[in-house]
Amino acid sequence: MLLVCRRQQILGTSPRMTAFRRVRPVSSFPHPPLTFSSLPATVGDAVARRQGNRKGPAISASPAIAEPSAGIGYAGPVGRFLRRRAEGRTIPVIAVCLAILGLWYCAAIGVNWATETDKLARAGDYSTLNAVAATWSAERPVLPVPHQIVAEVWKTVFEVRPTSPRSLLFHAWVTLSSTLLGFLFGSALGVLLAVGILFSRTLDKSLMPWVVISQTIPILAIAPMIIVVLNSMGVQGLLPKAFISTYLSFFPVTVGMVKGLRSPDRMLIDLMHSYSANSLQTLVKLRFPASLPFLFTSMKVAVAASLVGAIVGELPTGAVAGLGARLLAGSYYGQTIQIWSALVMASLMAAVLVWLVGLCERAALRRQGMLR
């Protein structure tokens, strides 16, 4: 044990520490860390609040019971519920959303005003109220208002058969299938490559720098070429788009997974060593479980990237099917509402996909006991 500790001292930083270094906020600025800073942040905040910082915002949740004015202003269950929500995130988020909606409606009046009043003036006399109503219900507005978009989404999702090309669900499914296929391939490839990089020093030194550099280049620019070239070879439909999604999603997974596989610190690896575990056993029983948080974080990035890849992959074939095709067709024919509804659908899909990955993450971490 002592030996291990000393080894760790000699080695200096464990891989986990180096992994976190970049993201960890500075604790040693402008003075070296004190023992105080090892307290959890909430404790520090609470202490700071009590030490005269009382005017500052109380961001951490429950106020101390014995604080002055504790218990005053008790407003029954409804008031307490509202206050808790306001201290949490629900009410602020709802308020910001409402503010955005309000701004949106106001902006729509301003943006659509010129064209709509023009139309009304040609038809005859009009009042201001009529003009405002017209800006919110134009057929091809410059900026459609939210209720028009919701109505369009509702119409194209629920009132049209899902198999017809007029249905948004049909297009969403086309995009989703290639996104998912590409994401699965990309994640599998990324994990495999990360394991390869872990075991082979040569791969680590030669391939890893290129993987890192490839994160900084606009890979998406390659999408039209892949589509057209594969198309000329007779490969059409799902596969070329899935290929682009694969390509976009495997880089983040590789980078995150390499970081994660190296995250167990020296002590744990030495422990595996003293159990006489071989490297495969260490991989399966220690490194892989330890890498899960990293894997899920990078998979969230990857699933968003592969959706973007699938959408962009639908552009060059000319508007055939998919959300990207809807965007392109909308921009050809000036159908702004169609563009916005495709955009809303894509955003919903991205949110749901990221949420699903997050759900898997919580399930896996709970199984590991990392989450309550």
Binding site: S27, D45, N53, R89, A95, K205, P209, A350
Partner: protein, 327 residues
């Protein structure tokens, strides 16, 4: 140097330097043989390419196993190894494409791409000016600046902070490039519409990161500023903004890539007849793949150079940060 004198070097009985030199010479000789075989093509070329690959792999492996004593040698090695790998890959690409007679429409050899870059440098430069110098730079500065200023405002109100942060985090996962057709409709075909897409794409990462960064200084440090009777502005400029710099630079680096992607994809939706995205979509329509590859090479270079430039500024600006300072 003959094969006979190489043999003991390859057996590995010598010092690593000898072995390295032997392998390097062997790789170069094999590559020379492969180049001489290039015009003929056929299975002999494939064999030569395979031999080059094996030798280069051995060379890379030997280099990776080295443990240099001086830090300068270590840095040189850290560049040399991926460089060898990359050059080998390009060489194999060339050999495979020319040896197997792959039609250039599918995959042009690197030499053809390089020739295209040289012969149409003027065109590529015009595209670079249109897409990068006009759209990306303008959009990047506006988007990052707006995100930063909004973060400073939002920081004054904890209510807004709690409300905007989850939304900002959500938005960063959405396919924002989709706003490209809308922006093209609003701002026309020329570069302002692309800059607008870039503004929308870069705004939220900057906002979220800056808000997180402004919360990065610890309560102790803020209390210290309070004991100095520092005003809000003084605390901001002397403590919280410097402490937020790593976060801000993180956003700047993320945005450097996003901005280029946004501008290129926006050009797929309509442009004047110049620009990187336009060139890619137009030339691929004419099946002129070498030109597309040339454009992609330029985009990759621009992307990694701008990222590198920001990383360099970061190292200078955040010299005190543990990830930058030595020891």
């Amino acid at each position: 140097m003959s094969k006979a004198s190489l043999a003991p070097a390859l057996r590995g009985s010598q010092s690593p330097a000898t072995r390295l030199g032997g392998l390097a010479v062997l790789t170069a000789l094999l590559a020379l043989a492969a180049i001489m075989l290039l015009p003929d093509g056929g299975w002999l070329l494939a064999l030569a390419a395979l031999a080059v690959w094996a030798a280069a792999w051995a060379l890379t492996a030997t280099m990776a196993r080295l443990q240099p004593k001086s830090p300068a040698a270590g840095r040189a090695l850290a560049i040399a190894i991926p460089l060898t790998f990359g050059v080998t890959l390009l060489f194999l690409w060339e050999c495979v494409v020319r040896g197997l007679n792959v039609p250039p429409v599918l995959l042009p050899p690197p030499s053809a791409i390089a020739a295209t870059i040289v012969s149409s440098a003027g065109l590529l430069f015009a595209d670079f000016v249109q897409t990068f110098l006009k759209a990306v730079i303008a959009g990047y500065v506006l988007g990052c600046g707006a995100g930063f200023l909004t973060a400073l405002l939002v920081d004054r109100s904890p209510f807004l902070k709690r409300g905007l942060l989850p939304i900002g985090n959500l938005v960063s996962a959405l396919p924002i490039v989709g706003v490209a057709p809308i922006m093209v409709m609003w701002f026309g075909f020329d570069w302002p519409s692309k800059a607008a897409v870039v503004v929308v794409m870069t705004f939220f990462p900057m906002l979220v990161n800056t808000v997180a960064g402004l919360a990065a200084s610890s309560a102790m440090e803020r209390d210290l500023m309070r004991t100095y009777a520092a005003s809000h502005g003084q605390t901001l400029f002397k403590l919280r903004l410097p402490a937020a710099l790593p976060f801000i630079f993180n956003a700047l680096k993320i945005n450097a890539t996003l901005a280029l992607i946004g501008a290129i994809v926006a050009e797929f939706f309509g442009t004047p007849i110049v620009g990187m995205g336009f060139r890619i979509s137009a030339e691929i329509g004419r099946m002129n793949t070498p030109m597309v590859w040339a454009e992609i090479t330029v985009a990759a270079l621009v992307g990694s150079l701008s990222y590198g430039a920001i990383a360099l500024i970061e190292r200078r600006a955040t010299f005190w940060h543990p990830s930058v300072r030595k020891g």
